[in-house]
Symmetry: C2
Subunit: 198 residues, 2 copies
DNA sequence: AGGCGACTAGAACGAACGCTCTATCCAGGG
DNA sequence: CCCTGGATAGAGCGTTCGTTCTAGTCGCCT
């Protein structure tokens, strides 16, 4: 319990496995379609462990998994945005990364939080909070890039919101159609839109 | 059974109530979150009636409900698109209608098919088929409008895809944020994008 | 009048759900 | 050496799930 001590590895190991497994399952089958027992099985943990770490039950666990997905998506976004100085090119780089990840997962891994967000909107405040924060987080990353490239702050903020929303929609379309095209197309259109602001 | 006869009212009444109730429930709570018993309760029908009209069970029923939602959304889209000749203005009219409908339902009724689409992608072919057709249907409506307004066919087709995808993303954002703003913002950005093609 | 098919009605099935509970394990401190 | 408390383990609770099944009602055709 000494805060100076390194965290014990077994504990964080189990908790972390549970969160990761939950995040992936929510991404692929949504909140209602994922059972706690399936999570514990997939995470190689027992039911007891799950409720030990998440006494708030499924909702608390899902909220934590959403935060994990938030970070995951933010990492991909950052990788795309940092790949070039040009803001329009940077967005198309993001769509390219998203398309690759989606294809490589056999069209299974779309946005890690959208399905759960839609299922629980207006009925699970703990989860909704995590979702709201994730979207704000992603918008902030894009906004910073656009503003840093010389776009006026208000324009950058508004564009960032549309960029994130459009990426969400394109990812959904790509997943349903099992095709990278909606994402690539969206990349081109977003780049064109951004270029009208310079 | 004479095809010239008017359809018997009671039969279509019950079937129709079941489809409508299913459509609304899928829109609000998704596929996994909606039970057949809840549907029969809400539709004022019995379990027997549900399985009588939809022997394929939950999936067949959901597919039919998706087709219903397809028509519903298409009607709204047409209303927006027909409200003016200018294609860019027409799209913002659509975002306005969507924002109103969402607000008036207390942020409950987003896109009627997205949640179910995400939950069942890659695991319920009957539903996926209906989803694919709905998206294609909506794209076609927008494409026709854009092409009719003088935009080249290829550009119109590509733009239509992005328009639909972006509307999906904006509706999701608006629902989560309980705000009309993402939709209005998207309307302005899409209009701007479309205007670059003229 | 009789029968037939469309439709309604809901009890019952096994399986799975989220969650609670008790029992056990085990490392670190007294 | 035992004690303590975090962590693991899984049986079992009551409920609901999707589906099946049998029984009954009703209107229409011959």
């Amino acid at each position: 319990m000494n805060p100076a001590n390194p965290v014990q590895t077994t504990t964080t190991g189990t908790r972390d496995r549970i969160v990761r497994a939950t995040s992936r399952l929510l991404q692929r089958q949504g909140f209602e379609g994922t059972g706690i027992k399936q999570i514990s099985r997939e995470a190689q943990a027992t039911l007891g462990s799950v409720y030990h770490f998440f006494p708030g039950g499924k909702q608390e666990l899902a909220a934590e998994a959403i935060r994990h997905g938030d970070q995951e998506f933010a990492d991909l976004l950052r990788a795309g945005l940092d790949s070039t100085d040009d803001p329009a090119e940077a967005i198309t780089a993001c769509t390219r990364l998203l398309a690759e990840a989606l294809r490589d997962s056999d069209w299974q891994d779309g946005c890690p939080i959208t399905t759960t967000a839609l299922e629980t909107v207006g009925r699970a405040p703990v989860i909704e909070q995590a979702v709201t924060e994730a979207f704000a987080h992603w918008r902030a990353l894009v906004e910073e890039k656009l503003h840093g490239a010389g776009i006026a702050l208000t324009d950058a903020r508004e564009l960032a919101a549309t960029v994130i929303n459009t990426l969400e929609g394109a990812e959904l379309a790509a997943q349903v159609a099992r095709s990278e095209e909606p994402l690539h197309l969206t990349g081109r259109h977003l780049a064109r839109l951004i270029d009208t602001y310079r």
